[in-house]
Symmetry: C2
Subunit: 299 residues, 2 copies
């Protein structure tokens, strides 16, 4: 599975990049490959100052070696080796009418004395709009739901709920965005074999393209003004706050001396913090805040 998954994320990286470059029309992803002293490495692909995307990263990493102590504690195991690989995508569009997008798919293997002890999949995808176009959000969630429903009718509700819980900016009492899916520790069981989970993961990969790209196509030529950009940059501040204060992936990466630039590629390109900024009553900006304060069901 390790090799199969590894090849799959390489091909997904290539097809996501090709779709994004096509949508952008101008920006091209630059390659930056890196290696990890303790074992493994990755390929970071980054686009900056495109036509549609102000900044975007599509990263693959494949790392292995002795399990770092902080992770041993978390997984309640000792003297283990690990193999982890995954793809991670963060896209910050220029136009405030186009939402920011994040997704990742990952696979983890744990060994004791060279014997495979445990393995699981994880990942998810979620949307962070600056302005709410309800049909776009419904389209996004409907895609997530139909991809899940092929496997288990409980998946969508479960993973949607986990996503809302995970991307919660607790210090602000609001969600980072309008959610999507979040799943972890997806292990083989009576209903789902490893192959079936892998098939689910591949459907999630397809869902990344199907759920987000049509929204970008639909909104990339919307008109916008300086006030919209101001709002976008203030909201991007909340994105930064979430990633640096709460995101377990980011904090774990930084603690375990991961590759800084690949981890912090998720940071938005231009961000503002204004003191106690509150949108006007009845404005579209306020509409967003109300939705973020109590995550709703979209499908």
């Amino acid at each position: 599975m390790k090799n199969v998954f590894s090849k799959y994320i390489d091909s997904l990286q290539a097809s996501v990049i090709s779709s994004l470059e096509q949508v952008d029309g101008l920006g091209k992803f630059k390659k930056d490959s890196w290696s990890r002293v303790e074992g493994g490495g990755g390929l970071t692909m980054v686009l900056e100052n495109g036509n549609v995307f102000e900044k975007g990263g599509v990263n693959v990493s494949k790392v292995h070696g002795k399990l770092p102590e902080s992770m041993s504690t978390m997984l309640n195991t000792k003297d283990s080796d690990f193999y982890a690989c995954g793809i991670s995508i963060v896209l910050h569009p220029k136009n405030p009418m186009v939402p920011t997008f994040h997704a990742n798919l990952r696979y983890f293997e744990l060994y004791n004395n060279g014997t495979l002890k445990d393995r699981w999949f994880g990942g998810g995808l979620d949307l962070t709009p600056y302005y709410i176009f309800e049909n776009d959000v419904i389209h996004f969630h409907a895609n997530c739901k139909s991809s899940c429903d092929k496997y288990d009718l409980s998946f969508y509700n479960n993973y949607k709920k986990k996503c809302d819980e995970y991307f919660w900016n607790s210090h602000r009492n609001e969600a980072r965005g309008v959610g999507g899916l979040f799943f972890d520790y997806c292990r083989e069981n009576n209903e789902m074999s490893v192959d079936k989970w892998f098939s689910f993961i591949k459907d999630m990969g397809q869902c990344i393209l199907n759920s987000y790209i049509p929204i970008v196509e639909k909104r990339k030529n919307e008109t916008f003004n300086e006030l919209n950009v101001n709002w976008q940059q203030i909201r991007r501040g909340r994105y930064v706050e979430f990633n640096l204060l709460h995101d377990k992936g980011t904090l774990f990466g930084l603690k375990t001396k991961g590759r800084i630039e690949s981890i912090l590629i998720s940071m938005p390109p231009k961000v503002k913090w204004a003191y106690d900024f509150n949108p006007a009553k009845g404005s579209n900006e306020e509409k967003l805040i109300k939705i973020l304060e109590s995550p709703k069901n979209w499908v």
Copy 2:
């Protein structure tokens, strides 16, 4: 001491604001007073879009009540009440040739069953330049040193070292800025009575004005270009990273449900994250990085 210190920080807030408004020439601080459900409150003073200062906050807070659990654990005490008051200053100048400045002075009292059990002072001040003017940094540190030397010849070295250790962006392996002073748990002892510590604190208050304002006056009319602003905004990203990832004060404030807007007033107004941005060899930007990588002695 509680009342004396409380009055002192009110008057320091007023005189700092008056000095800053004079230097700025245009910007005026706006008042925002707040109260804390569990006891106490504060007065946040904020300036935005000034002539010299793009954003600045000069906050006083005076809070009391039952000691929050996270702090009980840290201080290894149970069922205690506390009184804490302090002044905190963060200034983000517009001109990249003017450094960002941070300072705070605080006083803490701990009670068990209404009896004073412990009390101490803390605080510090530090400078975060975007471009190095060595004489400015020397002026800043020389002021810090002479204020310390009046009390104990070991203070400057100790507190300078603590400042370098505290404002260390460990995930980047570089200092946030060029340091200054950091002191905490300053309790009465054979050499320093509570009154003498308070006198030291007042000298620190004077040092805030004497060390920073002359640098602002000297540099506020330096010419700068778009590349300088780009560099300033990228470096402000490191400031954000420090405050959200490492700053104990910020994290403690957020965990204990402090007033968000007063805590995050420290966030710079406009910030950029560019992928793997590295200054050109031999540039002034690179000179800064080299200094931040291994904090030096300035006086």
